[in-house]
Point group: C2
Chain length 200, copies 2
């Protein structure tokens, strides 16, 4: 019903996550009618990203070089390795300005329902990275969802078997949080994982 | 914080309607990590659409030729001209299989808040199209939103001044609709615009 070039564009837009047939149509019309400059830029950015971006050989995040800037930096503490699920999570960690170590980005999580197991996730690469002799502690910062927790459990077992020290970021009441508004699961966990004041 | 090529891609994705910084990031990672084939196809489809698609000189919708297939067809009733806001609306009309006339696609609506007036919408082109001597009736099928109604009012005044017959598609209770679940505005309108049974 639409000209072929338009149909292909609508169909191609559907590869974006969360974009169904109606959104794809709206996006296509928007690009062609209201923002041809943006459309051209998007087309170019996709082509360019596909050519120039690869995975850092050390931390597995997206990088333009073989080893990313962060992994090549001498200002980071190479004895700490923080494991996150995605580059977004890595950015969130960086924004805390509370961590000076290095990262390993899983680019996913163990999710049997989606057919993603330890092998699909390439966990042997993490094992290799963590056993380089320099890393003293692996900090697991996967999400506290079912999949994130399962991933953390699996990695813990795998690394402990090799004698690598593993820790998990803390669960508890958020900073500034009021008990009245915290869900009871979180509160129960905060109670269970309470810290003696002498530790501070 | 991200490599430059990735930042450009995230930034470029934000030109899509309804895509904010978080979605753009998620989309970029999805394209690069999970669907590079889809990404390549999307990049190509955008470039191709920008080159091959233009506006039909008669109906203003997207077309690959100067005059679209529908407008060139001898099987359509050229005495009827249906005015719609977008190509999506045109497709909706076609799906009814109840209309055999031609179309004019506004590619928008009068919307003073967005700075779109009659001139920005190019209504003089519609006037020219409707005064070709063949068109007997212009059927307004803009949306029943405030902007769509305003657009219909403006076009009615404009065309009537030139002596062109204008009609508006009917408002009322949807087919299969139960009065109990119809909003009172629609019901009031259905009452006001009731038709004598002798018209049927």
């Amino acid at each position: 019903m639409n000209p072929a070039g338009l149909e292909s564009l609508i169909e191609a837009l559907r590869c974006l996550p969360g974009v169904g047939p109606k959104s794809a149509q709206r996006m296509a019309y928007h690009l062609l009618q209201r923002d041809r400059v943006g459309a051209r830029r998007l087309g170019d950015a996709i082509q360019h990203a596909l050519i120039c971006l690869r995975h850092c050989r050390r931390c597995n995040t997206f990088a333009e070089d073989e080893i990313c800037e962060r992994c090549s930096s001498s200002r980071r503490d190479a004895s700490l390795l923080c494991v996150v699920e995605t580059p977004v999570d890595l950015n969130m960690m960086e924004q805390t300005h509370a961590y000076q170590g290095l990262y390993y980005v899983l680019m996913g999580r163990i999710s049997p329902l989606d057919g993603i197991g330890p092998r699909e996730l390439g966990l042997e690469r993490l094992l290799e990275r963590a056993s380089d002799g320099v890393v003293r502690e692996v900090i697991l910062a996967t999400n506290f969802t079912n999949e994130g927790e399962a991933t953390a459990h699996y990695i813990t077992a795998m690394l402990k078997a090799r004698g690598v020290a593993v820790s998990r970021i803390a669960r508890g009441v958020p900073v500034g949080g009021e008990l009245e508004y915290v869900d009871s699961g979180t509160l129960a966990q905060a109670l269970r994982e309470r810290r003696g004041r002498n530790e501070d």
